[in-house]
């Protein structure tokens, strides 16, 4: 093997090093990463939906603040937001979340992903035919009611693939919590890998962490895609009668 290639494999794919760090990654890192990213995804999605409904409002005083928010948090490097929230709030005397770095990181990540997601949701909401709103309103629903029950559910369904990107990005960005300082038990995938590289002088631990990230993100992507398919097919509930059996919802049966 040429020297360069050998060096490359030795540095990034040293199986011994990967095997050494893997137990730590799976025991502590995986759970911590999942915890941070799940919390950030839930909070971010909530912020995103609320912002999106503001962004499509016809009232400028609702639209303008949402627009400013999105511009700022989408435009700032995420590292700056994490630092400002995680280190800035405590130094300003605002110890909302005590000394734990996690809630600060989740809050910062949610602020950023909320900004991204609001644009995704906005595009979804705006793609719903205008007639839907008109029909809903003519049936007596209020604007907010029509949004909540008619427009948003349809809009969200259309942007699921785009949301997947954002979810995957969240999983990976959850590593930024390391900027705020972590106790040994709090280390997530990336910081465990990084600490190991400092010890060993070999970068294979990062490869190992990368593999675990893939083990999270690939199933996540496929899960959302499957959900997307089901929602499309489930849009029209198919009824089937089999011989002697009562009416059944196929969708419920095929749930997988």
């Amino acid at each position: 093997m040429p020297t360069g290639l050998h060096n490359f494999f030795h540095t990034f794919f040293d199986l011994h090093q990967i095997a050494n760090v893997m137990p730590d990654l799976l025991r502590d890192g995986l759970l911590n990463t999942l915890m941070i990213s799940a919390a950030a995804i839930i909070c971010g999605t909530t912020i995103g939906i609320v912002l999106a409904t503001l962004l499509v409002s016809r009232r400028w005083y609702l639209r303008a603040p949402a627009r400013v928010y999105v511009d700022i948090f989408r435009g700032l490097p995420i590292i700056v937001t994490v630092m400002m929230v995680g280190l800035g709030l405590p130094i300003a005397g605002l110890h909302f979340f005590g000394r734990n770095s996690y809630p600060y990181a989740v809050f910062a990540l949610a602020l950023v992903s909320g900004a991204y997601m609001s644009e995704i949701f906005r595009s979804g909401i705006q793609s719903v035919d205008r007639g839907q709103m008109e029909a809903a309103r003519s049936l007596g629903l209020s604007y907010l009611g029509a949004m909540r029950l008619v427009i948003v559910p349809q809009g969200v369904r259309r942007v699921l693939p785009a949301l997947t990107n954002q979810f995957v990005a969240m999983v990976k960005d959850s590593s930024l919590v390391y900027l705020l300082g972590l106790l040994a038990s709090q280390r997530e995938l990336f910081s465990i890998a990084k600490d190991t590289t400092f010890e060993t002088g070999n970068l294979s631990a990062l490869t190992a962490a990368g593999l675990v990230y893939l083990a999270i993100t690939i199933p996540l992507t496929h899960a959302v895609n499957a959900l997307d398919r089901r929602m499309r097919e489930g849009g029209a509930v198919r009824l089937a009668t089999t011989a002697g059996a009562p009416l059944q919802l196929l969708g419920a049966q095929e749930g997988r």
Binding site: N7, I125, R137, L144, L179, L182, K194, D195
Partner: protein
């Protein structure tokens, strides 16, 4: 929000929201980056590398037996026998440096400066090579030096057994001390075992290893770099910050509410990392260091960056340093 429910909203015919323009133009800019192939053959041996006769003789005069088992046998005789210094590109010493390791190497007015940089400039001069500095992260340095992407790292890098498996080190050129700083109001005392206290430190630093051994009762919070850790200390997120001694001086100047709780002399050696495949360079660098100890250059550079006396362990290893100081 109440205004949104006003009845006249229902009768309006204007769109409740704007339909996006259909015309969407996607401009894809494909940038093809031609990556230059990195030669790591290591055959670019240089004719340069012969120490000046005067330096060779000084080294011989002030020689002390090398105590570093990790480096190949270094003798002053080898220095005068013109070791063949193998560098990546002829005539050039490619040096990896960090940008945030005060006072070893940091960026000032856009230039790499510091104790390690000054030493490296002097070493390069003595090897008749032109130093060329690249600022890298510690990860990149730890990977790039063994792979001969860089000839050497000019950093305050602790010599650790695990690291020695993948890279060679020069003889130790510095033994550091550590400092623990805390808020004056925290009431932490020097002989504290920090039980239940949260100590901030930089992940992978020498203090990290030390704290794990000596403060098992403390909660250790690892940071990626020093600035977030010092801000966390100021913000009350941690009780103390455990950092390299020279750094404490800087922080005590910057933050008047901090105090030095404890100062710890260490025996952790710092060396210049090099590739295991470059024994010629390792011995040449060691010879240059020996020569600098003997002729006082090292002491001059040291005093430029440090106020405290020379590290006692280093003086013990190289008695010639004590002679120079007197």
């Amino acid at each position: 929000m109440r205004a949104l429910r006003s009845p006249q909203r229902g009768s309006t015919t204007s769109p409740a929201f704007r339909v996006p323009r259909r015309a969407a133009i996607a401009i894809t800019a494909c940038a093809l980056l031609a990556t230059a192939a990195c030669s790591s053959s290591g055959t670019g041996s240089s004719a340069a590398g012969t120490p000046l006769p005067s330096q060779a003789s000084t080294a011989a005069a002030g020689s002390s037996p090398s105590s570093n088992a990790a480096s190949p046998a270094v003798s002053s005789a080898a220095a005068s026998a013109a070791p063949k210094v193998e560098v990546i590109s002829a005539g050039k010493l490619s040096v990896a440096v960090q940008s945030d390791q005060f006072p070893f190497d940091f960026i000032q007015n856009g230039k790499e400066v510091g104790f390690s940089i000054d030493l490296m400039n002097e070493i390069a001069k003595r090897l008749e090579l032109t130093p060329s500095y690249t600022t890298v992260s510690l990860d990149a340095l730890l990977a790039g030096v063994p792979a001969k992407q860089y000839d050497i790292g000019a950093v305050g890098l602790s010599i650790k057994p695990d690291r020695q498996k993948v890279m060679a080190f020069s003889e130790p050129y510095y033994y550091g001390y550590y400092g623990i700083i805390a808020k004056k109001s925290a009431g932490i005392t020097a002989d504290s075992d920090f039980a239940g206290k949260t100590i901030a430190l930089v992940s992978g630093s020498a203090q990290d290893t030390y704290a794990q051994q000596h403060y098992p009762k403390a909660k250790i919070k690892r940071f990626d770099s020093q600035p977030p850790a010092i801000v966390a200390l100021e913000g009350g997120q941690v009780d103390a910050f455990f950092v390299g001694g020279p750094d404490t001086i800087k922080y005590l100047q910057q933050y008047s509410d901090l105090t030095l709780v404890s100062s710890i002399q260490t025996s952790t050696p710092n060396g210049f990392p090099m590739s295991l495949d470059a024994p010629g360079l390792v011995s040449a660098v060691n010879s240059a260091l020996e020569a600098m100890y003997a002729d006082g250059t090292y002491t001059t550079i040291y005093k430029k960056w440090f106020t405290e006396p020379l590290p006692p362990t280093l003086v013990k290893e190289h008695p010639v340093l004590a002679n120079g100081a007197s």
